[in-house]
Amino acid sequence: MRTIHFADANGRDSHVSFVTVRTPAPPLRVAAGKLVTMRRFVVAGEDNTHDALAAGHGGDYGKALIEGDPEVDLELVGRPITTTSMVYLDGDGEVLRFAPEIIEAIYGPDGGEKERRPPQDKPPNIDEEIPLRFTKNRLKRADAVRRFAFSRTIQLWHTDGLTYDFLHGLAKSLDEADELVLLGGGESGRDPIVFQTNGLPWRGFLEGRVDGVKYQLLLRLSNLELKKAGDT
């Protein structure tokens, strides 16, 4: 069970459990009353790809396809793919026999590469000594919907009576104010939320709802603003 360490506006902090709010599972796929599943399989051998056929028969290899079946490797085609190991191919398409250098490429909004640099590891910050903290940024629910695309939701979950009181109280105050509050991480208390090493940085807004003794305390996560391209 994963935990998150966060503190409210008064500096009261707690480590609480959380789960991702899941999208309902898609419908089951069936054929003739039997369940079917999607699997990967081999459709061509190394000598049957477009590049290999073009190299062997010339760019216009249609005639070769009519006269024979150079695109089919009967030994391989249809073979299901189960466990595989990932390998790297060098610039000549040969298997790399040693570990490659890993670099980080930065691309601009136009898709063009802007920079290459050594990779910088980004540690998680959700369950560290310094808690995620309330910032002064508060938004009405409707304003948040109009500004951000929330693509992931984390539900905070109490583990005992004390954490129930803490989380229910926060949910109630946020619900009554009809507001979401932005949580920030790190020493500055303003860093985006990172769930795992080198994971995507998220802006997390806490939303609360109560129904009597029942509550929801939801961390709405966004990495996308509702804006037109070219405005950043």
Binding site: T20, P24, V42, T49, D90, P109, G111, A142, W157
Partner: protein, 199 residues
């Protein structure tokens, strides 16, 4: 012109062209690349567990298989719900008039499990809808980009940058009681895009 969103409320039709909003087009992106000794970007391939076959790009595909390992043609595949009831294929809604409902509470929009965001340009828009969106209200309509056995839901939202359609599947969280059992174990997906100071 490609088909877009067409919605109707009280008999008045509004239509919009759609453009997908993508994070990389707003903020750029970061990728980790493997490079060889000459600085050339390495491609990835897969080696089968018996070490016999090197699977390069273009050598694999995906298909539907039954429990006996037989491949099934796409046209023979249907779907059923969790109770075993057959489901009908829901056609694409693009270019097809859909009922518009609203105004909708912000809490309902927040409960959407988002699959896509579109910035949409009005071709024709009902004055009442235009005024409502400008006033900050939200509207709901059925949306399916392509035919599927599950229908998605779209919400119209407007801000200073234009009108947007938020599309996804409603996924409200459960309310927790004081004696709620502990949550089930959670699996999280990793991702490796870069944030460009979006705030």
């Amino acid at each position: 012109m490609p088909k877009g969103i067409v919605v109707a409320h009280d008999g008045t039709v509004s239509s919009f062209q759609i453009e997908k909003v993508e994070r990389a087009k707003l903020y750029g992106a970061r990728r980790r690349l493997a490079v060889d000794q000459k600085g050339r970007t390495c491609a990835r391939a897969a080696l089968t567990d018996d070490g016999q076959v090197l699977l390069r790009a273009g050598m694999t595909a995906q298909g539907w298989f039954d429990s006996d390992g037989r491949q099934i043609e796409q046209k023979a595949i249907g779907a059923e719900d969790a109770d075993g009831n057959p489901l009908d294929l829901v056609p694409s809604t693009l270019g097809v008039e859909q009922p518009l409902e609203g105004p909708i509470a912000a809490t309902e929009v927040l409960d959407l499990s988002l699959t896509a965001v579109y910035r949409i340009a009005p071709e024709q828009i009902d004055d009442t809808l235009a005024a409502s969106l400008a006033a900050g209200e939200f509207w709901r309509f059925p949306f399916n980009y392509r035919p599927d056995y599950r229908s998605e839901t779209g919400y119209l939202v407007q801000n200073a940058d234009g009108i947007f359609a938020l599309v996804g599947v409603p996924a409200p969280a459960e309310f927790l009681e004081p004696q709620a059992p502990p949550p089930l174990a959670d699996d999280d997906d990793d991702d490796d895009d870069l944030d460009f100071e979006m705030m």
